[in-house]
Symmetry: none
Subunit: 160 residues, 2 copies
């Protein structure tokens, strides 16, 4: 069973706001033994939706619990994350209804672009994504050395 959200897909959003969650993503949720999906606006305010399963949602809740309540930080995070999150059940064909506020936030009308990001995934307006893609490629290229790819950063790869 798949462990990480990976790959991308652009799916249609129908007149009722329904979108198919890409099959590989559903398999990750399934692996968590869950068929609900959590969507939250990207916390820094960019026009992107962040998505994940219950497992990750629980982790977020756990981190919050470690914070001191009745502080502005706790307040802000609790409200922005949990206050704006939607827990959406997948229907029997693997679709969710994308809440109107998320369509507004992202500018999504009839197409939604899904991007896997390991423990989470994102939903973008395809146009926004394409507009930023070239720059992301450049930034990624300039930062390869942050990942244990083939350089010496890949410390424990077996060879001395």
């Amino acid at each position: 069973m798949l462990k990480f959200f990976s790959s991308s897909a652009t799916n249609k959003v129908d007149a009722k706001g329904r979108v198919s969650i890409p099959a590989p993503f559903r398999k990750v949720l399934q692996g968590e033994g869950s068929s609900v999906l959590v969507l939250v606006p990207e916390i820094t305010g960019r026009p992107i939706i962040e998505g994940f399963g219950e497992a990750h949602f629980n982790k977020l809740a756990a981190s919050l619990e470690e914070m001191n309540p009745y502080t502005p930080e706790y307040d802000a995070l609790a409200n922005m994350v949990f206050g704006e999150a939607h827990q959406l059940p997948l229907d029997d064909t693997g679709r969710i209804v994308l809440p109107q506020e998320f369509r507004d936030l992202t500018g999504i009308t009839d197409l939604a672009h899904f991007v896997g990001r390991a423990n989470t995934f994102q939903i973008w307006n395809p146009e926004t994504y394409n507009a930023g893609r070239a720059e992301m490629r450049e930034t990624a290229k300039a930062n390869v050395d942050k990942l244990p790819w083939a350089g010496k950063r890949g410390a424990d790869r077996g060879a001395p």
Copy 2:
């Protein structure tokens, strides 16, 4: 059990996009106790696919988690690596379906060239590979001394 990806092979891509993963490569995956393969476009954007097993994929995820999220670097790496990675299960005859986007990227139509690279391997359009091979030989020849062959202990492996 084999530990590194080595050797090369050129295999057919059938009408359904299926390719046999070279048997020696399968043995490396088997050694990791896994039968899924991860493919990612080469990060600098050349028309090459990078492949490896779940073990290496986990390491990539782990390094990401150590980075500061919501930075352009994190974003770019997450989207370009995980967003474009495919986790592909091998079928019972050791084949995968090479995703269309990878066939497009590399220009692969009916033949795929596999090249072992120790901890990862690459998939090339055979023509692209052949076209660049002579130059790679020259570059390798000019840099033999960078490898710590027997008798050359402590050779300089390049400083940060």
